[in-house]
Symmetry: C2
Subunit: 544 residues, 2 copies
């Protein structure tokens, strides 16, 4: 039996385009003489379709496109993920379904049983769960059909939810010959290995092969890494699609297969994820050009490098906007960076508008000391210049704040936070350095000075981040423990040997700056818990 | 039997403060010789507690405070809403519970059955539903205990969800003497009447009195209107707490009671809701002072009036920031407004910074026509000045965009959208006018000129909103139909007699401007579907 796994890159709501990707996949599978072709979870709508699922003309159109897919399945079996009206009366209107199709007939629908409603997932907002996962007779085999989370509760690797039922146990009593899983499983560090372990666990229990077909590509903040796979009946990984790009995997289940391994470099994966996230955000929106402020610091340098890799050097504009507080050496570093990247740049001093605002506000601020107000003015003038370029020429502005800065609020709202996409908002400072080193692995792309100089916002004379913040490795550790792991302050202090005051101060900063993050551009999510998606804390609160 | 309904205003996460409100309520009920005192849903944590529920030290502290409440219940019965650890193994960790307490003993917990997970509600993200609603023996009566949504599926008034079970049917077979409902039911137009109808429906079925105790006050975007109530066994409303403020209702169930009526003026309610929303946002955050740009237009005039009512005239600063495009008459209107309101004001011409930016960017924009870039510069300069006042003096900036503008994207990101609170972001333009009329009911607060002049952003010579937008009554109708009612474009065109092109163009605008709204300040939610909370659409999409 030959099965194709079509690792496609659908766009949310692009029913016409996604349907075409599916029809192309069916045609290709036919040309390869496959018996069965698989597509990802909700491939027809793209994942996540969000509140489009609440619009009746959207769900009606889904049905019409599904009809086309059924029509195209002559002589082949197809299993494709799609939202589907739920025929049951008093329940939710939709199911997250696998349409099981053979030779121009819709055999049936296997609905998803386990509907993640945590972190970035809101599936119970839209879908009614299945009561059972069934084995379907297809291509002369008994095939267990599952959708994403359905197999994750078996190992168990689900940390944030508890379900009443393990669908793999449903399948166990039905003795399947093969289990397939349609996924839209987003990237995070180590996730591809966990996905492999999950499939192996299912294979171990059911003693049959497991095929997982995952979505690839970026949709808003979420990046899907692909890595569709085949695990054989001995729980060995025997085939793995590419990560971070479209792929088409063909698996011959009748032939003996050799185990393969999957090793990844975490920084390399992070880089690929961000590049894919930028590229799809731009291209799916119909934009090609990015601009960003180049400060001479590490964050903007890394974002410039990522954007150049994602969009091409001809499509990235770096804008240097020095003030009275930027040392000449930093400007030289910035120029060296844009030269190394081969991107175009502009140099626009913010001195005149800065002085203009100081003069304008002087009578208003009489008797008041200089403070963060004047620092923020500089950052906001830069934001305004970037937005003027965006308005005039159609660039999307890239915002360059990292996760550690956004945690501590070390950023100016409407200043360095402006932009259409917050590229590294889910990357801690230490990982920003790791990305810089990765770009410099073969030759110096990011000038060594930029990597080595102590971090500074350069908004007043001689300012250093370390004047007002703990070391970034400490910040990063607390952010990971508190934001990603939900550890208590005392547990964090105990585990890492920090004073409880330091930990509590950082956690207070995190909550005090919720209002800034609420107004940020969407950020690419590359950790197990990002600030800009999947984390919901109030601004008005008195717990912290 | 005497029951008190403590309509309190808890703050999210303020366990100490909320516990004190509850202890005060118990003491007051005792002094009134009540047998039973009720508090709202999740009164101890405040509603909605969001992801604080995922923090183990938070849920642990909840248990400790609940202990204090139990200790304080000597000689009285108490039913109070609180999150509670779920003792069941494989299920979600928490329940949304009513703690049923009598005379220093926690009798038991009635968990909520129907967990809304639509619009602004995410309860299945945190809570495990109850399997059944029980009747509890308390004060010699059989009391059916329900939490908010539990009684809404009976009438049925729930439009956005479908449940497997109606908890009122559970109670029917247990013949309760009384049903109580702890609520955290947010305001929207007509909601208080719907709440009354819901209680009457339950009373009709169960032939017993229904007491509903609702939260009051603002928490971030949500405004809870209170109106706790008693409905007797004949489905008559016999007692109603105040709307939009704390109240303490005492109901004697043993005495005969007369039916009362509840009539509201929708504009009056809207005004009260917004005033409460502003006041609680500021005071719960520990702020007292607001500033805002006064343009001479209707939106900023109404926001200034609302802020003055909410915070007091001594706490509101209006900043007039005229440009070359603002006619003298508009500046006079603005001055008249701040005079009428009795608020302080500043006048700061944006001419110098505007010219400064034009000069700075001229070499960059050579050969390019003037366009929205130059308009946005003006709006952004104003935003920067407002933020400088915020930074220097501790004002929270009020953002003044209305729902119709935000729908059509007729607002400058980082310009007129800046602010800590978007006061009228859920108020359509026509309702902004209605609010203005309401302020002028007794004397002219908002100068008639401001109400009568055609709307204009005044960012270029002779600009009028009607140059680029349909009439606001058309926009408002489409926004309500599409955003609030999820109607299809064709159905909207048919129902209101608009051309399909006009409707589709407006809907395209709504989706194209998702990126702007994503970066807005939190907005007060006063409709059945706001842009800034409870509506989840992707930026990258190809459906519309």
């Amino acid at each position: 039996m030959r099965v194709c796994l079509a690792q496609i890159n659908p766009t949310v709501g692009d029913l016409e385009g996604n349907c075409q990707l599916i029809l192309d996949g069916i045609a290709k599978a036919k040309s390869l003489k496959a018996d069965l072709v698989l597509f990802p979870e909700l491939a027809l709508s793209g994942y996540p379709p969000d509140d489009f699922l609440l619009l009746s003309d959207f769900t009606k159109a889904i049905d019409e496109y599904l009809e086309k897919i059924v029509e195209a399945s002559e002589g082949i079996s197809v299993v494709v993920g799609t939202p589907k009206m739920n025929p049951q009366g008093r329940h939710l209107k939709l199911c997250n379904s696998a349409a099981i199709i053979h030779d121009r007939t819709l055999i049936g629908l296997q609905d998803k049983s386990l509907l993640p409603t945590y972190d970035v997932f809101d599936e119970l907002r839209y879908f009614e769960p299945a009561c059972k996962n069934f084995v379907w007779n297809l291509c002369g085999k008994k095939i267990g059909v599952t959708i994403c989370e359905d197999i994750w509760y078996h190992t168990p690797m689900v940390r944030d939810a508890a379900y009443h039922r393990d669908p793999v146990e449903d399948l166990e009593e039905q003795f399947p010959d093969l289990v397939i899983n349609l996924s839209a499983s987003p990237f995070r560090p180590g996730r591809s290995q966990e996905r492999i372990e999950t499939c192996k666990g299912v294979s171990k229990t059911l003693k049959c092969p497991v095929l997982l077909c995952n979505q690839v590509g970026g949709n808003d903040s979420l990046i899907f890494d692909g890595y569709s796979m085949a695990v054989n009946e001995n729980a060995e990984l025997i085939n793995l699609a590419k990560g971070f790009e479209e792929d088409f995997l063909t698996v011959d289940l009748s032939y003996p297969s050799e185990e393969i391994s999957h090793d990844v470099d975490q920084t390399e994966e992070l880089r690929k994820a961000l590049v894919l996230g930028i590229r799809d955000y731009f291209h799916k929106l119909g934009f090609s050009k990015a601009c960003l402020g180049i400060s001479g610091g590490i964050d903007s340098a890394v974002v410039a490098a990522l954007a150049t890799e994602a969009l091409g050097k001809e499509n990235v504009l770096g804008i240097l906007m020095p003030s009275r507080y930027n040392p000449e050496s930093g400007i030289e570093d910035a120029k060296q960076l844009v030269d190394n990247l081969g991107i175009d740049h502009r140099m626009i001093s913010i001195e005149k508008p800065f002085q203009c605002y100081l003069d304008l506000l002087e009578p208003q601020f009489e008797g008041k000391q200089q403070d963060a107000t004047e620092e923020n003015l500089q950052a906001r003038i830069r934001g305004m210049i970037l937005m003027a370029f965006s308005n005039k020429f159609g660039y999307i502005v890239l915002s360059t704040g990292n996760k550690s800065e956004l945690a501590t609020g070390f950023a100016t709202l409407y200043g360095d936070t402006v932009g259409g996409l917050a590229v590294i908002s889910d990357v801690t400072k230490m990982n920003v350095y790791a990305l810089a080193e990765s770009y410099n692995a073969e030759e110096e792309v990011i000038p060594q000075n930029i990597i080595e100089k102590p971090p500074s916002a350069e908004l007043r004379e001689g300012q250093l981040d370390s004047d007002s913040l703990p070391d970034y490795d400490v910040i990063d550790t607390v952010v990971r423990a508190y934001v990603e792991e939900h550890m208590c302050p005392q547990a964090i202090a105990d585990k890492f040997g920090y004073s409880i005051d330091l930990v509590e101060d950082l956690i207070k900063r995190i909550h005090r700056n919720e209002y800034k993050r609420r107004q940020m551009a969407p950020g690419l999510r590359v950790s197990s818990r990002a600030f800009t998606i999947g984390r919901r804390f109030p601004i008005v609160q008195k717990w912290v």
